[in-house]
């Protein structure tokens, strides 16, 4: 049991031992192990990113099917579960069309950069006890900072495509991301006030000792989930690609693999948001019987399913409602929540 719980930590320890042995054998300085281990961590994060994206794309299509009382994709593989892999192969083989008047280097760069913010954020999220690649003292600040950057590749895509629909979509992304960052940060702040630490692992330990913070800060949890949906540009906040007004929004001029990168990055961003919600509100990797990392996966799965459920239930909101909802309802609510939290903490 203990072994399965720590299986990934043990594997990392084994890899480190092998590197140490190899470097000693080659006569190189042992400090290089850290450099090599950093590379191993990054590879692991990339693998997690890709696996998540592949799984959640098909899960979204399946769940959407169930919600709409249809089978969903059910041809490729057992009950259609290999559909995403087939789609990915199709997108790779498609022609990569770049508009003639586009800003070509930025057009490419935007697609490549889309994956960077979620990968950087995943590095700090603890998947299990001692399973964070970067166990920063200020993990929450780091994750918030890195997820701020997620809107930039989409804006660049909008600008570089040299297309009016794309540009409007890109502007909307920034508009939305900047607005919803404010209630999101405030919601997380009230959690930090209760836990008394910025370190993600310590916040999980706090919840192990006391109780899940979702019961202490239910309002912050709801606000966080809403702003996470808005930051990931998902319905009902999917105005940047709102197909009824903007063709395909920012992605109008993207095709083939470049489009696939954006599409997969969206799921990685969602996974980061779900992972952060799990860590901060749902007790992270803590839970009885099962190993910690499995609890983490299960909890993120539930939150991801909620994201998908919301998407297939609610219609798209009008642009001005999106902003007035953020600034007139969410921001005052979170400020009030912070005030109440502060007063209660002061009195206790």
């Amino acid at each position: 049991m203990e072994f399965i719980n720590n299986i990934f930590v043990n594997i990392a320890g084994l890899v480190r031992w092998v590197f140490n042995w190899l470097l000693g054998w080659l006569g190189l300085p042992l400090g290089l192990t850290d450099v090599l281990m950093t590379a191993v961590y990054w590879v692991a994060i990339v693998v997690v990113c890709v696996l998540c994206a592949l799984f959640y794309v098909i899960w979204e299509r399946k769940l959407a099917g169930y919600i709409q009382r249809r089978p969903g994709p059910n041809r490729l593989g057992p009950n259609g579960w290999l559909q995403t892999i087939g789609d990915a192969i199709k997108l790779v083989m498609k022609e990569d069309i770049v508009p003639d008047k586009a800003d070509k280097p930025v057009h490419l760069l935007a697609a490549l950069l889309a994956f960077v913010p979620p990968m950087l954020a995943l590095a700090a999220i603890p998947f299990g006890e001692g399973m964070a690649a970067l166990d920063l003292k200020l993990g929450v600040v780091y994750v918030l900072a890195v997820t701020t950057l997620a809107s930039l590749p989409v804006l660049l895509a909008g600008y570089a495509s040299n297309n009016k629909y794309s540009l409007i979509g890109g502007m909307r992304v920034v508009n939305q991301a900047i607005s919803y960052e404010v209630p999101q940060a405030f919601a997380l702040l009230s959690v930090i006030m209760v836990a008394g630490t910025f370190n993600l692992t310590e916040i999980v330990h706090f919840q192990q000792q006391h109780l899940w913070l979702v019961f202490v800060q239910p309002l912050a949890f709801v606000v966080y989930i809403i702003s996470a949906v808005a930051e990931c540009n998902r319905a009902p906040f999917d105005l940047p690609e709102g197909e009824s007004e903007l063709t395909a929004g920012v992605f109008t001029e993207y095709s083939g693999m470049r489009y696939a990168l954006f599409y997969l990055a969206e799921y990685c961003n969602m996974f980061v948001a779900a992972g952060l919600a799990t860590t901060l509100f749902l007790g992270g990797f803590s839970g009885p019987f099962l190993p910690g990392w499995l609890w983490f996966i299960l909890k993120t799965f539930v939150i991801m399913s909620v994201f998908i459920w919301v998407r297939w239930t609610l219609p798209r909101i009008r642009a001005d409602y999106v902003l007035s909802f953020c600034w007139k309802i969410l921001v005052p609510l979170t400020l009030l929540n912070m005030l109440v939290t502060g007063v209660v903490l002061y009195l206790i």
Partner: protein, 183 residues
């Protein structure tokens, strides 16, 4: 940890210089902004590698994150298509101003470096020796002791922003409605 830190320091430092140069020499304004953002991220990376988590996070949120707004404002103010964006970064033509700014900034930086007493070259520094930043003291200083100075700076920056927009855009009076009177 020493080797990793040294490697990151030199790699990020080199990239930082390259991107800073790129900010000046790219002809397309958007490319210059991107290069500027990359330079800011390099600085954040150096902060992180020196265990200054808070400073790194703030650097990313406040500086690198706001480049997106910079790009949006630029696209609003400069009405050109993406293909016609060359010659939007005009700094290369203002060489006199550039040299003056370089001398001023470089001179003050050099002075600051010259008069600071360093305990060791960055490479010889051991991160274990650095005391963790007392965040509570920082918060107390910013929001209690020096709160008026802090807020004044914020107000000043806002005024500068508004002034920049007002001076850079020619605002024409809106045409009068049919029934409206002139004053």
């Amino acid at each position: 940890m020493q080797i990793l830190q040294t490697l990151t320091f030199w790699a990020l430092g080199g990239l930082l210089l390259l991107f800073a140069l790129g900010t000046l020499i790219f002809r397309n304004m958007i490319h210059a902004f991107l290069s500027f953002m990359a330079a800011l991220l390099c600085v954040a990376g150096i902060y992180f590698s020196l265990q200054a988590d808070y400073l790194g996070g703030v650097q990313v949120i406040v500086y690198a994150g706001s480049v997106a707004i910079l790009i949006v404002l630029a696209l609003f103010l400069i009405n050109r298509s993406a293909a016609d964006m060359r010659q939007t970064n005009k700094w290369r033509h203002k060489w006199l101003t550039s040299i003056l700014a370089a001398i001023l900034v470089g001179g003050s930086l050099a002075g600051a470096i010259f008069y600071t007493h360093f305990s060791g070259w960055p490479l010889a520094m051991d991160t274990a020796d650095i005391a963790p930043l007392p965040y509570t003291e920082l918060a107390d200083g910013l929001l209690n002791q020096y709160v008026i100075a802090f807020e004044t700076v914020a107000a000043l920056l806002l005024a500068a922003l508004v002034a920049a927009i007002v001076t850079s855009s020619k605002m024409e009076p809106e045409p009068l409605e049919a029934g409206e009177k002139t004053e």
